[in-house]
């Protein structure tokens, strides 16, 4: 068989826009994984294709993804981005490939975000070659594609520590390096920040460049347009690079494959890329009018301008309407083109706001990423040769999965239940819901504000929307929750995933504030399960609450192994009622809210070993708070500890409020809250973070002991 092996970096793979997965076979050759496209056509056609592929590529390179440290002669010479200026275009291309090898090697050992960085290797190299950080400011939207940037800006030696405790952050961080112009993590902020920096530069009379790199996925958020509009109006010099890899809607994947692009925006961008159709149509139209004659000329002219608006120019004219100059599409994997365009724009005295539309492929250059349905966007440790991730086998599954299953169980019986998420299909577990009820699951793109009000609209028509949004992402939609949902008392249910500390993603994704900002709303029912069974019951409870909004929060992580209700169908809990888990005979009570209850139980056991009998209760509801339980605990005990994995202003504050107003703090009771400290906890493992926050079972026990007037070494 004529085995034509394609060079991985230049394999022209199809995009999965219709969910179609071609058949692939992976070959291993000298430790390099390649993918061969099996089209079923005759062999000679494939050979022709290979030959054409080789003709088309200027530089052929086999990349080393063997798992051993890659040899990177060019990259070794770069200690500061200014060193890239000495390289020729050829060398820059090679540097981009070396960066790819380095990224794959690093991320295979640490886990993290992979394919985003692979897609922008050439772009990063070109940007640093043309511009001068830190004087020039490059802002990476979201920031998960900034690994090559970090490598080039003097952090290569620390890349092995990325996303780990005391290591490099997984996103740009101003405190980490002067080359990180702005901290990102939530999407669609780069243009706004860039505009601010550009205006600041103008006011201070400086003349550096400001470049914002934003992806097509992030362009679904309204904030990006707010910024574009303002940029167009202000007319200041600003370069916006739209990194388009046709991945509108974060491809955390449905069960069956990649999530196809969301919305009309992707169509518009797609049209921008294929001006060919537009030109062809024009030619055809011209041909016809030539035949038919003069009178149709007017019609043809209108046709021309209409088609320009509809076909080739629709996206371009959108940006131009906003006052930005559109350049593109530019091949994002061709360093020569990128450097040329960037240099040209840089050399102009007054370009104003310019948008450069760059086309890239996510995961480019690493075959397992290119062909994976989710493009290996976020990965744990994996084997670089095959791309296989080493996921830990755990006895229990994640809270996300339990949530999705119980929602499906509810939706089975109630066809008014619909699911809404903001481009986090896999992350929220609604991909399972989508598979089951494809017409009842809505992905709105990265647009939390819209998601909330959209849900409000649904609720006003009598449907039962479940909005599954991460705690830190819901922050963006707070006004919508307050004004559109709570004020009108619309029964929208919020399933708040990633509540509390989240581990490697760090403070940008930390869900510390949701209890605080939701429990202060007058009409909201706020609850938190202590384990997966409770979670399922709370899903049922939320489904049953039809006269007001409700929410429940659960953390990142796996369940504890509690017994699930049959068929994952929960039973609604009594609203505003907590439960006592462990009846103690002493003076101490610990009241937990959320999964921290498990740590409270452990603390009780530790105290038991010291002869202290402790009552442990699970509050279940922050709002309406279980007043009877609080009174009982306050009257029957002398020490009350409340614990939650949230910031000040949340559950413990509501407890204190209740106790005060009911005179329960006027007596012998000693009450202490245990909340997240009033500072941002750096990224690291979740375990390290909890330790840093002081919310482990040993810390809870130590607090009790300190109140009892005793200290114990080794606690």
């Amino acid at each position: 068989m004529a085995s034509s092996i394609f060079r991985t970096n230049y394999l022209p793979l199809q995009q999965y826009q219709d969910g179609y997965n071609p058949i692939y076979r992976k070959f291993r050759s000298n430790g390099v994984a390649v993918a061969q496209l099996e089209t079923g056509n005759a062999n000679n056609e494939r050979n022709t294709m290979a030959k054409r592929g080789q003709q088309a590529t200027q530089i052929k390179r086999l990349l080393n993804f063997s798992g051993k440290e890659p040899s990177t002669p060019l990259l070794d010479t770069i200690n500061h981005p200014i060193d890239t200026k000495n390289l020729s275009i050829q060398e820059l291309g090679k540097l981009a490939d070396e960066l790819r090898e380095e990224v794959v090697y690093t991320v295979s050992n640490t886990g993290g975000h992979l394919s985003a960085s692979l897609g922008v290797a050439e772009l990063t190299v070109a940007l640093h070659h043309v511009f001068d950080t830190p004087k020039d400011k490059i802002i990476w939207d979201v920031g998960h594609q900034s690994y090559p940037h970090k490598i080039l800006t003097g952090r290569r030696s620390r890349m092995h520590s990325i996303r780990q405790t005391c290591g490099l952050a997984g996103f740009p961080k101003r405190e980490e390096s002067i080359h990180d112009a702005f901290g990102t993590g939530h999407s669609s902020t780069s243009i706004s920040a860039g505009l601010g920096m550009a205006v600041g530069r103008d006011l201070l009379g400086k003349n550096n460049n400001v470049i914002a790199v934003i992806g097509d996925g992030a362009m679904t958020a309204g904030m990006a347009y707010e910024a574009l509009n303002n940029a167009g109006y202000l007319d200041t010099n600003l370069i916006i690079i739209l990194n388009d890899n046709k991945q509108v809607s974060l491809p955390t994947a449905t069960i069956d494959g990649p999530a196809p692009p969301v919305g009309a925006l992707s169509k518009a961008l797609k049209k921008l890329q294929s001006s060919r159709e537009f030109h062809q149509l024009r030619e055809a139209a011209k041909g016809i009018t030539k035949q038919i004659g003069g009178q149709t000329h007017e019609i043809a002219a209108k046709f021309d301008s209409h088609m320009r608006g509809v076909v080739g120019g629709s996206g371009a004219s959108l940006f131009e309407e906003l006052g930005l100059y559109y350049i593109g599409p530019v091949d994002g994997h061709n360093v020569e083109d990128l450097v040329y365009v960037l240099n040209e724009v840089r050399s102009m005295p007054a370009p104003g706001p310019v948008l450069i539309h760059v086309i890239t492929e996510k995961g480019k250059g690493y075959a397992p990423a290119e062909i994976a349905p989710d493009k290996m966007h976020g990965v744990v440790k994996f084997d670089p040769k095959s791309g296989k991730q080493m996921k830990n086998k755990s006895a229990t599954r994640s809270y996300t999965q339990y949530f999705a299953e119980s929602l499906i169980a509810e939706a089975d019986e109630d066809d008014k239940i619909v699911g809404i998420h903001a481009a986090m299909s896999g992350g929220t577990g609604l991909n399972l819901f989508q598979k089951r009820f494809p017409d009842r699951c809505f992905d709105v793109g990265i647009a939390e504000q819209h998601a909330v009000t959209f849900a409000a609209g649904l609720a006003s028509k009598g449907l039962k929307p479940f909005c599954a949004i991460y705690s830190s992402f819901l922050q963006r939609g707070f006004d919508q929750v307050a004004h559109d949902v709570d004020l009108q008392k619309l029964p929208v249910r919020f399933a708040i995933d990633r509540a509390g500390l989240v581990g490697a993603d760090g403070p940008t994704h930390c869900g510390s504030f949701d209890t605080t900002f939701l429990a202060c709303l007058p009409n909201m029912v706020v609850m938190a399960p202590s384990n997966e069974t409770e979670l399922m019951h709370m899903v049922a409870t939320a489904a049953a609450i039809d006269d007001r909004p409700s929410c429940f929060r659960y953390p990142r992580g796996n369940g504890i192994g509690s017994i699930l209700p049959p068929n994952n169908k929960g039973t609604p809990l009594q609203i505003g009622k907590g439960r006592v888990l462990r009846e103690g005979s002493g003076r101490v009570a610990i009241l937990g809210y959320g999964t921290i209850v498990q740590s409270c139980m452990k603390a009780a056991e530790q105290l038991q070993m010291l002869g202290i009998s402790t009552t442990v209760a699970d509050a279940r509801f922050c709002k309406p708070i279980d007043g009877d339980l609080l009174r009982q605990l306050a009257r029957e005990h002398e020490i009350l500890i409340t614990a939650e994995e949230g910031s000040i202003g949340g559950f413990s504050t509501h407890v204190s409020h209740f106790l005060c107003l009911n005179g329960l703090l006027d007596g012998k009771l000693k009450w202490r809250p245990m909340v997240l400290p009033d500072r941002y906890i750096d990224h690291g493992s979740q375990s390290d973070q909890i330790e840093e926050a002081g919310l482990r079972s040993k810390h809870i026990a130590a607090t009790v002991l300190s109140l009892l007037g005793q200290t114990r070494g080794g606690m």
Partner: protein, 189 residues
């Protein structure tokens, strides 16, 4: 059989949407030998094509710059001429083969995209049937990219032109004002 492209009706046959397969089904009733050869026909046709090296344009009898209307007219004429049902009985095979090729030629040339690719191939001296679709997709990507380059080059020159006059006195945008101020400051220094 009535072909949907407006051939004269042959009495006693049903109107049917034409396709190469159905024409052979019709043939099968009248000419047994052709049924066995059905499979080889297509391959043979391709090989013959390649060997004869008659381009689609020559096949249709039009110039390479023919408009889509000319292509359509030529196709209609030839389809009428070579249709199996109206071809002389002793030359059915040959005519049918021709018919298929004419059909292919029309399908390629009437689609502007495919035509462009075909023209490119012709220039390179390669002539293949349109069934090599995957190749065309790949070539399309290459085509796209070179078109992109032309496009952004012209965009860049336009931007340069605009940028020279951008901060003229009349432009009162915030950015223009700031740039003018800075210019004046640097002139003073």
């Amino acid at each position: 059989m009535r072909c949907s492209y407006g051939l004269t009706a042959i009495p006693g046959t049903d109107a049917r949407f034409f396709s190469p397969e159905t024409s052979f089904l019709q043939l099968r009733r009248t000419f047994q030998p052709t049924r066995i050869k059905f499979g080889s026909f297509k391959i043979k046709a391709k090989i013959d094509e390649a060997r004869k090296e008659m381009s689609f344009y020559e096949l249709l009898g039009i110039s390479e710059r023919g408009t889509s209307l000319e292509i359509k007219q030529a196709y209609k004429q030839l389809a009428r001429k070579y249709h199996p049902d109206v071809s002389p009985p002793d030359r059915v095979e040959e005519y049918t083969e021709r018919f298929i090729r004419v059909q292919e030629a029309y399908e390629t040339l009437s689609d502007p995209r495919r035509r462009a690719l075909y023209d490119k191939d012709l220039a390179l001296g390669i002539h293949l049937a349109f069934s090599a679709r995957r190749r065309y997709q790949y070539d399309e990507d290459l085509e796209d990219r070179s078109e992109w380059k032309n496009r952004w080059q012209s965009q860049l020159s336009e931007l340069k032109r605009r940028s020279r006059n951008r901060d003229a006195g009349g432009n009162m945008s915030w950015g223009a004002r700031m740039r003018r101020q800075r210019e004046e400051l640097s002139k003073e220094l």
